[in-house]
């Protein structure tokens, strides 16, 4: 049996656009944009799944259309599952972004702070020493006072100068 597997160009272009914009948003700092990015990529991949099923045909119901005219129902079933999963995950991410905003007043995705602290200490050659000038700040306090990229809103999170070294050279906007 020979099946027409040539995909529709429109759908392929749609996949490309959705995934490209999704990836762009995924690389943003703000979690809200990341979520939109993930939703876009997810939709793009779902369309790709449809493309994978070959060209469209009649409804895959016996008696409605002849078997050779039917479209392949399997990818559609899989897409349905994938859509539901993406929906659930997006809802969870939105809740997380909201919680982050509740706690911190922003929804920035931060770099690995502990790595930064270790690098700082290593630079001062204190890693293996017991007595350090550890200010006693926990990671949580550090996290609250660090902003990687997103602009600072109110000054309540500034507490600037407390950990000046926490602001790397690449964090222009975060400088007080």
């Amino acid at each position: 049996m020979n099946i027409d597997m040539a995909p529709s160009l429109t759908l392929v272009v749609l996949v490309a656009v959705l995934v490209a914009t999704g990836v762009y948003l995924l690389l943003e700092r703000s979690l809200s944009r990341v979520i939109i990015g993930i939703a876009l990529i997810g939709n793009g991949v779902n369309v790709l799944m449809l493309v994978a099923g070959g060209s469209a045909g009649g409804p895959p119901i016996l008696g409605e259309s002849a078997p050779e005219d039917m479209s392949d129902p399997l990818p559609q079933a899989m897409v349905l599952t994938a859509i539901v999963i993406t929906l659930g995950m997006t809802a969870f991410l939105l809740a997380m972004a909201y919680r982050s905003w509740q706690l911190n007043g922003h929804d920035e995705v931060q770099d690995d702070l502990e790595d930064r602290r270790i690098a700082r200490r290593a630079a001062r050659d204190e890693l293996s020493e017991r007595v350090t000038d550890d200010s006693g700040a926990t990671l949580a306090e550090d996290a609250a006072s660090t902003r990687d990229e997103t602009a600072r809103g109110e000054d309540q999170h500034a507490r600037a100068g407390h950990h000046p070294a926490a602001i790397g050279a690449d964090d222009e906007e975060a400088k007080p």
């Binding site: 993930i38 690995d112 996290a143």
Partner: protein, 527 residues
């Protein structure tokens, strides 16, 4: 008896529902979860015994194999089930004791048990999945559960590190889904056994693309080097039992998926050299990260990344001996890494912190804790005669048989990694246990109920060493089955390329593009 295959997935899901309904009665909830997982453990052991007669296949809903969902348990899957359920059960008992001990710091315990059971169901589902899409659904089940667990309580720290984990996991799922779509477009099936027959027929270049897509997707989940940066940042902030079960199981699920797909679907091994290079990088760079750490949980997270490299090494070596050693190493590492994280949780309770800078004198204050840390730590570093040593010895032997220059480089890299693991572990031991604490540690005691499961896992890891002979026999046979590929394919698609079950109308035209019955696909997975 094939219905047994479904139980490791179905029972925890039912248990999760029951536990959620019993949210108001924490004690009953605990009883439900523990008894469900105990039953699953018994089922897994039964499966482990029964698969010696050949892989067990269940065509879900009576839809014959390439059309419907297939659940398959072969030797590899059965062994993974037994080890994973054992570890999950131990962690559950540990967390019960912790919950009783401190009234759970405002964390919503009502959600904990159901989510934990769903996680277990997801892990089991990935192990028994007989088609790629069901594998994907299994991953999503365990990911959704893990998202809830890693952000449990929604504190500032957990939200911060959880965000990274969630986003990275979702990206890896998307890559996997793209891989599935491309594979379906190329072959018209997602059934693993049928793929094993059809994939060799397509264009070699396309094969390579598909292989790489799957490798990247599973590489992120398994935390293989260039894709591992998310792990050390996100695991340590979760509650101790959650970190323990994640560290033990979730990355190994990725490793299992790599073994399954690379060996079954792409037997010509064109990426073996790539896998070996990646393994070397994972081992060495991971352990260098661990050496620099000053927090026990983070240090352990880096050793976790590093030792994933050993398993990838075994997969890359690709001979029966290499695969067998990799499977042995997986079961060893699940046990030991979980035990270490549980002990790290105990240290945190006793010392009030996991920072090596502030800990000290634990060997004097808590000698039992010291023993519990020392044994799995030495096991991780590969000190004979424990299972870590046996696993590494198996890998080195397999690599030496292979005999190429890359293999000898890997042997050197593996030995250096073991040595550096020992260094990192000894540093931890010195700072946390032997040296005097800079400030006196708080006066607390550790609940016995938490020490019990941790000790149980340590004993289990020693047992793995004691039973290493039979276990290696078993993994040898598992590896032989995997390499041969025929037992798996034949048991899924026995006569004329159809599984057992009824779908008579389509039997004659079992080619692609025929109506395949939407009801047969993964609509009812529960999440």
């Amino acid at each position: 008896m094939t219905w047994l295959v479904a139980l490791p997935v179905v029972l925890p899901l039912i248990g999760a529902g029951a536990a959620l309904a019993l949210a108001r009665y924490p004690r009953v909830q605990g009883v439900v979860s523990v008894s469900v997982l105990s039953v699953v453990l018994v089922v897994s052991v039964a499966l482990l015994v029964r698969v010696n007669a050949g892989p067990m296949v269940l065509d879900v809903g009576g839809w014959a194999a390439p059309v419907g969902i297939t659940l398959v348990v072969d030797r590899l899957a059965a062994l993974m089930l037994v080890v994973s359920v054992t570890v999950t059960l131990a962690v559950l008992v540990y967390s019960l004791a912790q919950g009783v001990a401190d009234g759970d710091e405002g964390a919503p315990l009502a959600v904990y048990h159901p989510t934990f059971l769903v996680l277990s169901a997801g892990v089991s589902n990935t192990f028994v999945a007989g088609d790629l899409f069901n594998l994907y659904v299994g991953f999503e089940i365990l990911l959704a559960a893990s998202f809830v667990l890693i952000t449990l309580g929604g504190t500032r720290d957990r939200i911060r590190s959880g965000t990274i984990y969630v986003v990275v996991s979702l990206v890896s799922s998307v890559v996997f889904l793209v891989g599935i779509a491309l594979i379906y477009a190329a072959t018209g099936t997602v059934n693993l056994a049928q793929l094993a027959m059809r994939l060799p027929e397509i264009d070699p270049g396309m094969q390579l693309v598909l292989q790489l897509m799957l490798l990247v997707a599973f590489g992120i989940k398994a935390a293989v080097f260039p894709l591992s940066a998310w792990l050390p940042d996100s695991y340590p902030t979760a509650p101790a039992p959650v970190t323990a079960v994640f560290a033990g199981l979730l990355t190994k699920v990725g490793v299992y998926a790599i073994i399954r797909t690379q060996v079954l679907l792409f037997p010509d091994g064109r990426l073996d050299d790539l896998l070996k290079v990646v393994a070397l990088a994972t081992m060495v760079i991971g352990i260098l990260g661990a050496v620099a750490q000053e927090d026990i949980k983070r240090l352990l997270s880096f050793t976790l990344v590093s030792h994933i490299g050993f398993m990838i090494w075994g997969i890359g070596t690709a001979s029966e001996a290499g695969l067998s050693a990799a499977i042995f190493y997986v079961s060893h590492h699940i046990t030991v890494q979980t035990a270490l994280f549980l002990v790290a949780g105990l240290i945190e309770r006793r010392g009030g912190t996991t920072s090596l800078v502030r800990l000290g004198s634990l060997a004097r204050l808590a000698p039992l804790l010291a023993v519990l840390f020392f044994v799995p730590a030495m096991n991780l570093a590969g000190i004979p005669p424990m299972s870590g040593f046996l696993g590494k010895a198996g890998l080195i032997e397999a690599a030496a048989q292979d005999g190429s220059g890359l293999s000898y480089t890997l042997i050197a890299g593996g030995l250096v990694t073991s040595l550096l693991t020992l260094y990192a572990i000894v540093k931890t031991w010195n700072m946390a246990f032997w040296q005097e604490a800079p400030e006196p540690l708080p006066e607390t005691t550790t609940p016995r109920g938490m020490i019990g499961p941790a000790a149980g896992l340590v004993v289990f890891s020693l047992l793995l060493a004691a039973l290493a002979g039979p276990l290696y026999d078993y993994t040898d046979r598992a590896a032989r089955d995997l390499r041969a590929r025929v037992p798996y394919i034949v048991s899924v698609l026995p006569e004329g390329g159809r599984g057992t079950g009824q779908s008579p109308e389509v039997t004659e035209e079992g080619e692609r593009g025929t109506p395949e019955g939407t009801g047969g696909t993964d609509g009812g997975e529960g999440r």
